[in-house]
């Protein structure tokens, strides 16, 4: 994979102490997906000062992490190093020698004790708990032996935690396949399963007796792990109990734990609505048309809502940040029968057409929490890139692909975590709501500046032809938010206008560096005489707040001037739902109101609106069939 190799090449480049700093590298470590690449990045960066690959003004949290194992675990160190860096931690790692776990924990003068770790990761394998020659016909003796060894581990761990201030992390242990299959009777295998579960039960019970001890349920995690946990060649030759894949699975979970320990857990999830909390677009599909509840795919969105509700009950704050009409959103959240999350579940519900980075900053300021404790969840690559670029501290979850995977994406272990939850966590939302209630959320409208410049937006305008006309008609029927006159132009009228010499029907497409959005809007214009009138103008909400309408307007104005017209007018039938279209006529003069239609005019002899600097406008001739 090219990106992965690119990142690794940048890691290698940084090892030269004279090489220039690479402040984006830390964020780009997220693109590493294979354990092998993680290991290489971790080895490469272990000797590099974090300041050389961290953005200005951001720091990674130092943490002393020790690994003590019952097997050869040296190779996990680089993977762990990389995962900790990705979790925002600059680790100082100490790996105890092979099978030194009990000695290092027990001896007050050990290297481990001298290292004074913040977190001690204890890695166990079945061979350290099972007697070598255990008898499949005598599981009572096996249980006695495992119980004895667990007691020794517990004793050592308890002593260590009493002498030190850090936390100790153990984990449940998988039983190797060829150990399990030594028992051939199914009754016997079930009994062995019970005995082994008792071992893991014992481990899982440790935190109830020892407050500084935590347990990762590694055995449960491995149920989803695609590869083997053990390579018997490496195990027999070098006492390496885990494959690189198992090491990576553990390192990821351990890094998430360290993140919690370092106080880096997220406290607030800011979620989008359309195609995130439900399927479809509220403004276009209406409350009855959005997908949530019931069968697939609605049930996927319900799963995400239930997952967020579970987070909320454990003290995570939730907020909405959506491009929508506030009144529509408030009504749906309060009344839609299939929603799991209700207005009271959110500390702030922000629906407007402003920039999301501005809205997020305002929400965070109101609640008085840090930007680095925010997770932003959205399906739009545009919004995700904007937020990631403008607020690098915020962790961004881009929901893409099948909605069935959305809940899992939000529940990834690196985002939310806590060592323990308390009764007050349940009440936290109510406490913060009071602060946000008084706030008016008003972010600025159009996202100008270098972000849009970097998007490479192209707007291509073309007169309606046989290919685009059906899509234009469909857009006109579907677009409830950005239009001058809701559903005024059906297929017969659109065809009539497209064929008429006194009218113009234009469709426009938008593309940016993420790809093509396709046909996203259309305009219906009367062109007779010296006054051109925009009878209708629709724009899909997917491309709001990027200046697209201004570019098309500039094009229309230029066409009108070319035809010797001196006025460009727009008839706007303003209602509750189509307020978004006001941005089209913001430079126009408001005129008389006739039966709910306001006539706006723009004097073309004075000034012609310009195409926004960040947009390339193209003209395409219609296709003739």
């Amino acid at each position: 994979m090219t990106t992965e190799n690119d990142v690794l090449a940048r890691v290698r480049a940084l090892r030269d102490p004279a090489a220039p700093a690479d402040p984006d590298l830390l964020a780009d470590l997220a693109t590493l997906s294979t354990p092998k690449a993680l290991r290489e990045a971790g080895r490469g960066l272990a000797a590099v000062a974090p300041v050389r690959f961290t953005p200005d003004g951001r720091t990674v949290r130092p943490l002393r992490v020790a690994v003590a194992a019952t097997f050869t675990a040296e190779n996990i160190a680089p993977i762990l190093h990389a995962e900790l860096l990705r979790a925002g931690i600059a680790p100082q790692l100490h790996v105890c020698g092979f099978d030194q776990l009990l000695v290092e924990l027990s001896d007050p003068g050990s290297d481990l004790a001298a290292f004074a770790p913040d977190v001690t990761l204890c890695l166990l394998h079945d061979g350290a708990l099972l007697p070598r020659d255990w008898d499949p016909t005598d599981l009572t003796t096996l249980t006695d032996a495992t119980g004895h060894r667990l007691d020794m581990i517990e004793h050592a761990v308890a002593g260590f935690t009493q002498r030190t201030t850090g936390t100790v992390v153990l984990h449940t242990v998988p039983l190797a396949r060829n150990q399990q299959r030594r028992v051939i009777s199914y009754g016997g295998r079930a009994a062995l399963g019970r005995a082994w579960r008792a071992v893991n039960q014992h481990l899982l019970d440790l935190p109830t007796r020892h407050p500084a001890v935590h347990v990762l349920d590694f055995e449960a995690l491995l149920a989803d792990h695609p590869g083997p946990v053990r390579d018997d060649r490496l195990y027999r030759f070098a006492s390496m109990a885990w494959t690189i894949g198992a090491e990576a699975a553990y390192a990821r979970e351990a890094a998430a734990f360290c993140r919690v320990t370092a106080g880096l857990s997220a406290k607030l999830a800011i979620v989008d609505l359309d195609n995130t909390l439900w399927g479809g677009v509220l403004g276009d599909d209406g409350p009855e048309g959005i997908q949530v509840g019931g069968a697939y795919p609605g049930n996927c969105y319900t799963d995400l809502q239930q997952s967020l509700q579970a987070l909320r009950r454990q003290g995570v704050l939730l907020a909405v940040c959506s491009k929508n009409e506030q009144a529509n959103v408030d009504a749906v959240l309060a009344a839609h029968p299939e929603l799991t999350l209700r207005p009271d579940d959110f500390v702030a519900t922000v629906a407007n057409w402003g920039r999301k980075d501005h809205n997020i900053r305002q929400i965070v300021q109101t609640l008085n929490i840090g930007l680095d404790s925010v997770v932003f969840v959205d399906d739009s690559s545009f919004e995700c890139e904007l937020v990631a670029r403008e607020i690098p501290e915020v962790r961004v979850v881009r929901l893409s692909g099948d909605p069935a995977g959305h809940a899992a994406a939000v529940l990834e272990p690196q985002f939310f975590g806590a060592l323990a939850t308390t009764a007050t966590d349940r009440e936290r939302t109510g406490m913060y709501r009071a602060r946000a209630d008084r706030e008016q959320f008003a972010a600025s409208f159009v996202s100008t500046g270098d972000y849009l410049a970097g998007l490479g937006l192209t707007v291509t305008v073309t007169p309606a032809d046989e290919y685009t006309l059906p899509r234009i008609v469909q857009l006109a029927a579907r677009t409830n938010q950005f239009n001058l006159h809701p559903r005024a132009h059906g297929e017969p009228r659109t065809r009539e206008m497209a064929a008429s010499a006194d009218h113009l029907v234009l469709g426009f497409e938008v593309a940016d560096r993420f790809g093509r959005e396709g046909l996203v809007g259309a305009a219906w214009v009367a062109t007779a005489g010296d006054r051109w009138t925009i009878e209708n103008f629709v724009l899909s909400c997917r491309v709001f707040s990027r200046g697209v309408e201004q570019a098309v307007l500039a094009h229309l104005a230029a066409l009108a001037r070319g035809a010797a017209a001196d006025t460009l007018a727009a008839d706007y039938r303003r209602g509750d739902r189509n307020k978004a279209a006001a941005s089209l006529v913001e430079t126009f003069t408001e005129g008389a109101d006739t039966d709910g239609v306001t006539a706006y005019t723009l004097d073309l002899s004075a000034a012609v609106p310009a195409v926004p600097a960040w947009i390339t406008l193209e003209w395409k001739e219609p296709a003739h069939v």
Partner: protein, 78 residues
Amino acid sequence: MSDVTGTVVELVERVTELPGISPASSFHSLANWTSLAALRLLTDIEDEFGVQLDLRTYLAVGDVGQLSDLVSTALGDR
């Protein structure tokens, strides 16, 4: 140098963090060459080529060229 040899040389360079590896490089003369490094190289090679090697044969290999031959044989046996 064949494709296989080129890739093996690159993997050895990455695992040992030493530049200038050639087919004639003897493993035991390399600085940083430990049994753990040998096993890291083994998993990298198996991952890269999609083969599985017999550990005994692998550990008996003396230089990079011989390792490349071993991988080529394993690739031919598939």
